[in-house]
């Protein structure tokens, strides 16, 4: 670096802020745009949720009427029940699958890199694509059931996709397939960071592999487990594309989820006020997950800082 930039004789020195204007612009314009849109768009949607807006946003105040209308609608109730079922089943099963995959890959097996790529590739593909493919595989007249019928076992039945009670489980299957790899990647990183001296000490004490896992390795993974669960829940709450491509909320409205209700109210029924209320409800569900997590993270960090 030379001093030439600062010591240019013979030119009238521009005021500091003018000289630095380009950098101020490059820093502040994008950051302000981003922050402003986040804050103002959230407030805007919240505001619309309290107005009688239908086709276009209008001023006015209807209090919580949009909220009670959404909460009382069958569509939302089914969506909410589905979210509870889908959210818990998907999160538990994908975390379990991810953990099992991570433990298996942690056994110093050959071809670990290839296997890891196989378990992670669905994450690189859009939910529209994977949802479409799963809709073919799970379609009883086209996919797995048809194949097994053609092979001669004609009483075989696997028609969850068109079964009102079971259809939500097709979304669970596809979602597990798509994102267990993510849990695996986090768990694997956690397994690899367990202190190998402690493991050796346990083995010298005569602990077998199962015991070592149960007593030493798995307990150290629980902070990662919390992170995995929270991120997967966040995904579950906002699931849209996958359902749109796989079942489109059907059969009937059996696989409705909150994100689909929001879209339906806003853009298909043109009930903007109710759509906004449903979006705010989604946000509240998300906050019910994220705020305790943030508090937990804060406590953990404080503790780490004091330790």
């Amino acid at each position: 670096m030379s001093n030439a930039a600062t010591m240019r004789p013979g030119r009238p020195a521009l005021p500091e802020w003018v000289r630095r204007l380009p950098e101020y612009l490059m820093i502040w314009v994008p950051l302000l745009l981003s922050a402003a849109h986040l804050v103002s768009f959230s407030l805007w949607t919240i505001w619309i949720s309290f107005t009688p807006s239908t086709l276009v946003p209008v001023a006015g105040w209807v209090g919580l009427r949009n909220y009670s209308a959404v909460a009382a609608s069958r569509n939302w109730q089914i969506a909410f029940d589905n979210l509870l079922l889908f959210g818990s089943a998907f999160v538990l099963l994908s975390a379990a699958t991810g953990l099992i995959l991570a433990i298996l890959l942690d056994q110093r097996i050959r071809g670990e890199n290839v296997l890891r790529s196989i378990f992670l590739y669905p994450l690189a593909v859009s939910f529209v694509v994977t949802g479409t493919v799963w809709s073919w595989l799970l379609n009883p007249g086209l996919g797995i059931q048809k194949l097994i019928h053609d092979l001669g076992w004609t009483s075989f039945k696997f028609d969850w996709l068109i079964d009102r009670d079971m259809a939500i489980w097709t979304i669970v299957i596809a979602a597990i397939w798509q994102s267990s790899g993510f849990a695996m990647a986090l768990f694997l990183a956690g397994l690899r960071s367990v202190d190998s001296d402690i493991i050796k000490a346990a083995q010298i004490d005569g602990a077998g592999p199962v015991r070592t896992y149960r007593r030493i390795i798995l307990p150290s993974l629980w902070p990662i487990t919390v992170t995995v669960v929270v991120i997967q829940l966040q995904f579950a709450i906002s699931t849209f594309d996958l359902v749109r491509a796989l079942t489109n909320g059907g059969p009937g409205i059996a696989t409705q989820l909150p994100a689909l209700v929001v879209y339906d109210l806003m853009f298909q029924r043109s009930l903007l006020g109710r759509g906004a209320a449903a979006a705010v409800l989604m946000l509240l569900i998300l906050l019910a997950v994220l705020l305790p997590y943030a508090a937990w993270r804060y406590v953990q960090r404080r503790r780490a800082a004091h330790a």
Partner: protein, 285 residues
């Protein structure tokens, strides 16, 4: 556990991994095989089967033949739309995020923590909270149903991720390096070009891969803010399966699905390490 012998337990482990891996690959294999079977062949049997002859014509039909609504141009125009949205939005959001991350981590200025904190809230705020405002804003500035509108949205929203990635990477750079350069008279941009950018290779690859994958795969904004010929490929795929619902063309549809997934799959195969790093970096936010 460290053990490389071939005890029965090892064989069981390999068996389990191989079975799960086969299950994970099955959907991909099925679509690839279907993309090479004729529609009639699939209609006679199931979606799962070996092609009798390789029907490469499915790819030609998917690329530029089949019809959605009244237009029969295949998937090509929508692939082009996705590329025209994804590439500019990826580049712009990555560059701006790198500069912002550099400013927040190494330059420090008044209010930096506040603004950074708000920007990273964008990682969590559901898209549904922004749908109506974006619709109104895009309509007011005349960008509704345009690719430019989608580029704008993805750039602004992507900043939350790109700034976070770059900031978390740059905080590890020693401040002395910056201080020394400043004493030498180097300004904000000169330090960025000369010192920061040459150190940024890995994080820029992570960010670009993350942004590209997410924007290419995005569906909700595409289907909400664009219609017909302006739609990105994800929205077009849904329109295609709705359009052919009566007379399914599963061979051609499979080829279309493969083509649509190919760009992100290729990037994943080429830069898998960086892709995974992005996933986990996003997780430890």
């Amino acid at each position: 556990m460290p053990d490389r012998s071939f005890a029965p337990s090892r064989i069981l482990i390999y068996l389990a991994v191989a079975l799960i891996a086969a299950a994970w690959l099955a959907p991909l294999v099925v679509v690839v095989l279907n993309s090479l079977r004729t529609n009639e062949e699939i209609a006679q049997g199931s979606m799962i089967g070996w092609p009798q002859h390789l029907a490469w014509s499915n790819y030609a039909a998917a690329w530029s033949g089949f019809c959605v609504a009244e237009t029969c141009a295949g998937i090509r125009p929508y692939m082009l739309n996705s590329a025209l949205v994804t590439i500019p939005a990826t580049i712009i959001s990555t560059l701006l995020g790198a500069i912002a991350g550099y400013a927040v981590s190494l330059w420090r200025f008044r209010g930096d923590n506040w603004i950074y904190g708000i920007v990273t809230l964008g990682l969590f705020l559901p898209q549904q909270m922004r749908l109506l405002p974006w619709t109104i804003v895009l309509r007011d500035i005349g960008l509704i149903n345009t690719l430019t509108g989608l580029v704008l949205i993805h750039t602004i929203q992507g900043l939350s991720f790109t700034t976070l990635f770059c900031r978390n990477y740059y905080v590890a750079i020693p401040h002395e390096l910056i201080r020394a350069a400043r004493i030498d008279g180097a300004g904000f941009f000169r330090i960025f070009w000369r010192i920061i950018l040459p150190l940024s290779g890995p994080i820029l690859i992570v960010t670009v891969i993350w942004q590209f994958t997410h924007i290419w795969n995005e569906f909700l904004y595409g289907v909400t803010f664009t219609t017909g010929q302006q739609q990105p490929v994800t929205a077009a795929l849904i329109a295609l399966s709705a359009a052919v619902a009566d007379i399914p063309q599963h061979g051609v549809q499979s080829a279309a699905v493969i083509i649509a997934a190919l760009p992100t799959l290729l990037i994943y195969l080429l830069g898998g390490k960086y892709f995974v790093r992005g996933l986990t970096a996003g997780a430890v936010k």
